[in-house]
């Protein structure tokens, strides 16, 4: 009985301390503005704003500077990795291994799994065509390069292990430094990053996560840990993995309308994620511009030059190996995240093209996310470069006057 009362009290206390939210946002809903306004309201408390990509970190900084003229001294903006390095790795870097006490730990961005084994001639060792990796027991080779740079795909694991070893002291330190922690583009975080988020939820800091589960174009690292949550499924992580004592409110309404895309683009792009709520276009007068070329279109490769000349869209591609018209500006899909254009011209990959013809076609989660990002950059029109014959069927509909949606 007494125990029960204690537990109830404890829960209430914890509830009062933890003021955590996950905001599910859709493209063009003003995510960054929302975040920045929230941060600027906390004029006396310390705030950390962190996000995975450097581009977005810059974007947040610029937004704050454009609103305020400078970044207030109570607000710190840094990328997720730089945050992990400064507050996760360095303060207690030698807890796991004393040899690290005096080392200047650097950082190495690793796009694939790090810590490959090499033979004496410097060639990767492989068995049956698959590379072999150092295990955790080889502490230094597992986490670090020879020059003691920590691998980006292991850094959050390292941080979790240190925090465990210190019985939570590491996260406690962070929560005493930052009363408010905002994480933008949270869908980019994966694996042990999620454990860190969990610990932050448990701490005294108020945590706000903002993300769009549809825009998983990058991941901090590829891992099997929490694999089922890595594809933008942060919401079910929050719902299933926190346990009873950690609270996080999920907000799917505040940032559900797009101030960028018109309804046609909203509807068409929502088809990529039929399991998620459909996005809708806002009704603000200022956001809505009328135009005679609005919607989703396709254009034959032979007509691209003419189309570019007429509508001046920005060209979007997978990467710079894709040939575009070099007389007009172009961007990679991943790079375009967070940007806004009136019109886009998308060079689809083969699976993307197949999906456009038939929405049941197989499309990887990365391909899906990138196509979603590409489509939702446009305020007025999103046009896809695709060869077709007059009368071809797209999603059961006959092409009519370039319009597919």
């Amino acid at each position: 009985m007494l125990l029960n009362i204690q537990n109830t009290l404890k829960r209430q206390l914890l509830g009062a301390m933890n003021n955590n939210t996950l905001i599910i946002a859709s493209a063009g809903s003003g995510k960054t503005s929302h975040l920045v306004e929230g941060a600027l309201r906390k004029s006396t408390e310390s705030v950390l704003i962190t996000t995975y990509t450097e581009a977005n970190e810059r974007e947040i900084r610029n937004k704050i500077v454009s609103k305020k003229g400078y970044v207030p001294s109570n607000i710190t903006i840094q990328t997720w990795f730089s945050f992990l390095l400064q507050h996760g790795v360095r303060p207690y870097q030698s807890v796991l291994n004393d040899e690290l006490h005096d080392v200047d730990i650097g950082f190495l961005l690793s796009n694939s799994r790090s810590g490959k084994k090499y033979d004496s001639e410097g060639n990767p060792i492989s068995i049956g065509g698959r590379p072999i990796y150092w295990g955790e027991k080889d502490f230094f080779r597992y986490y670090f390069t020879k020059g003691k740079d920590i691998y980006s795909d292991k850094v959050s694991k390292f941080v979790c292990k240190v925090d465990q070893e210190l019985k939570g002291e590491l996260i406690s330190r962070v929560s005493r430094i930052y009363k408010n922690i905002y994480i933008d583009e949270v869908q980019d975080l994966a694996g042990f990053d999620l454990d860190i988020i969990k610990s932050l939820f448990k701490s005294k800091s108020s945590v706000m996560l903002v993300g769009d589960p549809r825009q998983v174009t990058y991941l901090t690292h590829h891992t099997t840990k929490y694999g089922k949550y890595s594809e933008g499924n942060i919401k079910s992580f929050v719902e299933n993995e926190l346990g009873k004592r950690i609270k996080c409110e999920v907000d799917e309404t505040t940032l559900s309308v797009s101030h960028r895309n018109n309804q046609i683009i909203c509807d068409y792009s929502s088809r990529l994620y039929s399991n998620l709520p459909k996005s809708t276009a806002c009704k603000c007068g200022a956001c809505r511009v009328m135009d005679d070329h609005m919607g989703v279109f396709i254009v034959k490769p032979s007509m691209v030059g003419k189309y570019l000349e007429t509508y001046r869209p920005i060209q979007l591609r997978w990467d710079n190996r894709i040939t575009v018209n070099s007389n007009y500006p172009a961007m990679n899909f991943g790079e375009s995240k967070g940007t806004t254009s009136n019109r886009v011209l998308i060079y689809p990959t083969r699976p993307m093209a197949n999906w456009i013809k038939d929405n049941n076609a197989v499309l990887s989660s990365e391909g899906r996310a990138k196509l979603y990002v590409a489509l939702t950059r446009a305020r007025l029109s999103a046009t896809i470069v695709l060869d077709y014959e007059e009368g071809d069927m797209f999603e059961g509909k006959r092409i009519n006057n370039y319009i597919i949606a």
């Binding site: 360095r90 870097q93 030698s94 006490h101 330190r173």
Partner: protein, 541 residues
């Protein structure tokens, strides 16, 4: 917030690690010359400001910062063809607070979670290959290769620091004067700047800029510029004189502090010291803590000024930490014995480390005697005034008439409280001699009583074994038994009245101070008991 402790490694007189735990308010640092009092102040200030003797150390590294032994050992090892670890200097400051999580981490010599900063002078490994080439010819290496060294200044969380980001503002007040080229005193500018809020600093630099602008807008300056420009028709460009607008914080180096219209550096050293201290004591910034480092304030202050300063310190130190180095027993006594840090042989001990009843005993004493023991080089403890006079004279006779105190030996009359003093002496490893009577029972009164100090390497007991000669007087008569007439003459009695040693020593015992004073003032030297002579020669060991 306060500083819990300072640790110093290989810096100047400290060979290896040295630790000083600090009190909350006042810390009085006492100890011999060369014990490292100033070095502690200097090191604390360096780690908190990056400044040594008025300059940023960054560009002025020198091998003389290193402990001499450490440097010699290193060079010796290189000469022997070994590959020794390059010496490094480290100063660590530990903060006692949980309000500064940014400074928490385990990058400290204790490798534990702590809040603080460190300042390290260490080899820069980017010069590894140059260094290897250098020591390949060991004969040519005569000093620490300081040109390959760098300064690392970080928090315990391994974050780099600047003087601005350190939450403790340190103020060094010493007799040296470090001035900007313009003459304004660096320290006083710092003291003033550190007390300003950001908005006030902005206002000050704007006012300064405005002043410079209005200077160049002045009609006479315009006329001069026109003249210069006409004369120097070198190109299409204009040539003119203007105030230097390039540096951001130039007001600091240009503005001068005045006291009653006299430039600050022109007023007396004592007055400067009092003003700097009072300014520093007056700092009110709540976010930052203050450490005031005061070096030997007695040096340039009159007694009244010193009194005034001490009063200000005791009144103003509530929320500040102060470290004062001093040789003055007056200063220490006024500021409280419980705040004493006794520095000796790279160790700090405090009176509060003593047994409680001993500490209480000394708290009741006027304090002066305790400090005499602490501040002298060697001490001789005697029972009473006559013993003191006789020993002083015995010392003078074997040291060309110099008083013991001139040789750093303090003779202290302690009545029957030898053990209390010995406890302090043992604690601070102060060489102390005890001259005492055997009171007719050498075994009990000497051997048993001082058993605890038998093994001591700093305490030595001088007494005579012959129980029949129980006090100083019979001892003295015995020492002069060859020539009793001379003794009688010296102490001013007739040897015909005092024919046996017994009557003579009876007389002396009932006229203790009188005969001792006669001996002390006499032109002729008498003979001294063996144990007193031994004590006198121990003083010169």
């Amino acid at each position: 917030m306060r500083i819990e402790k300072i640790k110093i490694y290989n810096y100047k007189c400290f060979d290896g690690w040295f630790t000083a735990h600090l009190n909350n308010g006042v810390n009085i640092l006492v100890g011999d010359n060369e014990a490292g009092k100033s070095t502690i102040l200097e090191a604390a200030n360096l780690a908190l400001t990056g400044i040594l003797q008025g300059r940023y150390l960054k560009n002025e590294l020198s091998q003389y910062l290193f402990n001499h032994n450490v440097a010699c050992n290193y060079i010796g090892a290189v000469k022997k063809g070994e590959n020794p670890h390059l010496p490094e200097i480290c100063i660590e400051i530990y903060f006692d607070t949980d309000k500064l999580p940014l400074f928490e981490g385990n990058r400290n010599s204790e490798k534990v979670k702590a809040c603080g900063i460190f300042y390290k002078i260490e080899f820069d490994s980017t010069y590894q290959s140059e260094y290897e080439r250098l020591i390949s010819v060991p004969e040519e290496l005569t000093t620490i290769p300081i040109e390959y060294y760098k300064i690392t200044w970080k928090s315990f969380a391994r974050d780099s620091l600047t003087a601005r980001s350190i939450p403790v503002k340190s103020v060094m007040i010493d007799s040296s004067s470090n001035r900007y080229q313009s003459g304004s005193d660096i320290y006083i500018s710092r003291i003033i700047r550190d007390d300003l809020e950001d908005s006030e600093k902005v206002k000050l630099s704007q006012a300064y800029r405005k002043m410079k602008d209005s200077f160049s807008q002045d009609e006479s300056i315009k006329a001069i510029n026109k003249k210069i420009d006409e004369k120097a028709k070198i190109s299409e460009k204009t040539l003119k004189v203007c105030v230097d607008l390039s540096t951001q914080n130039s007001w600091e180096s240009v503005l001068m502090t005045y006291l009653d219209n006299i430039p600050f550096h022109q007023i007396g050293k004592g007055e400067q010291c009092v003003i700097k201290t009072n300014l520093a004591l007056g700092h009110k910034k709540s976010k930052e803590a203050n450490l005031i480092l005061l070096e030997e304030p007695e040096n340039h202050l009159s007694h009244t000024k010193l009194n005034e300063l001490i009063k200000n310190i005791t009144d103003g130190c509530l929320d500040k930490q102060i470290i004062i180095s001093t040789h003055s027993s007056y200063v220490s006594n006024k500021l409280g014995l419980e705040n004493l840090l006794l520095l000796h042989d790279q160790n700090i001990s405090r009176l509060s480390d003593l047994k409680k009843d001993t500490f209480d005993f000394f708290k009741k004493l006027p304090g002066y005697q305790t400090l005499r023991l602490i501040l002298c080089k060697k001490a001789v403890l005697v029972e009473g005034d006559s013993d003191e006079l006789i020993f002083q004279r015995a010392y003078m006779d074997s040291n060309d008439g110099r008083l013991p105190i001139e040789g750093g030996v303090d003779v202290i009359s302690v009545k029957l409280t030898f053990e209390r003093f010995l406890e302090i002496a043992e604690n601070i490893k102060k060489p102390v001699a005890v001259i005492t009577d055997n009171d007719g029972d050498y075994d009990t009164k000497i051997i048993k009583k001082y058993k605890a100090y038998e093994e001591s390497d700093c305490i030595i007991i001088f007494a005579d074994k012959r129980n029949e000669l129980n006090t100083l007087e019979p001892q003295f008569v015995d020492a002069n038994k060859e020539d009793p007439k001379k003794l009688c003459d010296v102490i001013g009695v007739s040897c015909e009245d005092y024919t046996t040693p017994d009557v003579l020593s009876k007389y002396m015992e009932s006229n203790k101070t009188k005969w001792a004073l006669k001996v002390f003032e006499s032109k002729d030297a008498v003979k001294y008991p063996e144990y007193i002579k031994k004590a006198a020669s121990w003083c010169n060991e």
